[in-house]
Symmetry: none
Subunit: 240 residues, 2 copies
DNA sequence: ATCGAGTGCTTGTCTATACAATCATAGATA
DNA sequence: TATCTATGATTGTATAGACAAGCACTCGAT
């Protein structure tokens, strides 16, 4: 078997990792598929065995592969992506309430990241990323401002999406399978810009949800979601 | 500096990993503490650099360490992990951060419920319930006001508990096995009472977590937890 | 037919070495 | 003084080689 790793970027072990993850996520290699042995990869790729070993070892630690000493390396069974990882789609949520959903696109482009956002995206200082700001409306009343920065290395075509037809979350779920999510909640006084967009009253705080999503082992996007503070949000009900 | 890794088990890189994690979790090495360089570890432990490098690299990937090329390796800031729905014990959380936990008991008694609270507890108008208000402190700085009403039909001895020794959440978990939990998050401007208790600045919003817990088929308690809005709270991290 | 030893392939770990990239700092220069 | 430059320390990656340990399979002895 011959592989083409030319399209991948970064160090060698990372190229091999990305290549394998792509094979798995594209469905070329199904669960229980046996990978070439380290020796074969060394021969075909002309990498040293330590480099191949690192790639496979890390992918095993990340849950993509299962390795059995003396036997071989296999694509792992799909992990149950429980209902926790559901990123709810605000458009569907509004429509579920039989209300009208609409969106205002405030920003949709590509720009240099601030230091803070570069850090949160784990990109180097001065990198560029896609940036979108969208106001989600329910019956023409603003219910959420979504400010999002997207890693172009993970989602190169984010700039081409028409957000009047599909929400960013919807698009991202489709093109960048969710691996990991981080949520943080804050209460903040809105900036004047957010205050205007959400039609907030004087002295009304807003609920801020910071969300980071991982895909392909990298951070795919960081989103800041602003909600009016006086309306219940983020409700959650759990039965043991 | 000399290390003793004799007590550790397994391969060499694992011994070094365990040793470092123990130093961190025992509080010997605090966040931002600089570790010996790879070169120094190689010299002192007589391991090869690749072995030392693997240990440090994996601990960085696991979030224990932060490595900066050209500078050094440092103990990472504590990541607030844990689940939204986990009923976390705030006292343990503070102690996990190696900080001092203390509590001020503002109210601890039994009183008639307001209409709203009676509804939320699904008790009839005019019923009585236990009521406690406690300020939780980290290093003597208030970090949470816990206002709680407890259903005496489910937890008859709530009034006898000494909250200087055990937190309400701790006690309830023990005597009323958790069946169901409901959470709601809000951002609110604090009342003057809350503002005073949390030492909030003028115009600083607070993050409010409303929690209802069920036990024995009934609502055991309703809690309102107030946090300063500018400090991160309710962090949540999921891996697929 | 059954058991057991040997053999070869696989992964797991360790070493010694090398070079690259990043950063802080001291020293030289304008 | 301010700025540039060289240097050393540190981490990041890659290589070739070695031995250990786990497993499947074959083949011979019983």
């Amino acid at each position: 078997m011959t592989f083409t790793l030319e399209t991948e970027v970064g160090p060698k072990y990372q190229k091999l990792k990305s290549f394998i993850v792509n094979r798995i996520e594209d469905g070329d290699w199904l669960p229980a598929h046996q990978l070439p042995s380290e020796h074969e990869l060394v021969r075909d790729l002309k990498f040293s065995r330590m480099t191949v070993n690192r790639a496979l070892r890390e992918l095993a630690a990340e849950g993509y592969l299962q390795r059995v000493p003396g036997v071989g390396t296999f694509v792992a069974e799909l992990q149950s992506s429980g209902h926790f990882l559901e990123i709810h789609n605000i458009a569907d949520e509004v429509r579920d309430r039989r209300h009208e959903y609409s969106a205002d696109i405030i920003i949709n482009g590509r720009s240099k990241l601030s230091t803070e956002n570069a850090n949160r995206l784990q990109l180097s200082q001065g990198s560029e990323a896609f940036h979108s700001t969208i106001v989600h409306m329910e019956n023409h009343i603003p219910i959420q401002v979504e400010d999002r920065h997207v890693n172009p290395a993970v989602v190169p075509d984010y700039g081409l999406v028409d957000f009047t037809l599909t929400t960013p979350a919807e698009y991202l779920l489709k093109v960048a399978p969710l691996q990991e999510v981080e949520h943080t909640v804050q209460a903040r006084m809105p900036t004047s810009r957010i205050k205007k967009l959400l039609h907030l009253k004087e002295n009304e705080p807003c609920l801020v949800l910071l969300r980071r999503t991982w895909s392909q082992g990298k951070i795919a996007s960081i989103a800041t979601l602003y909600h009016p503070g006086d309306r219940y949000e983020l409700s959650d009900h759990f039965k043991a």
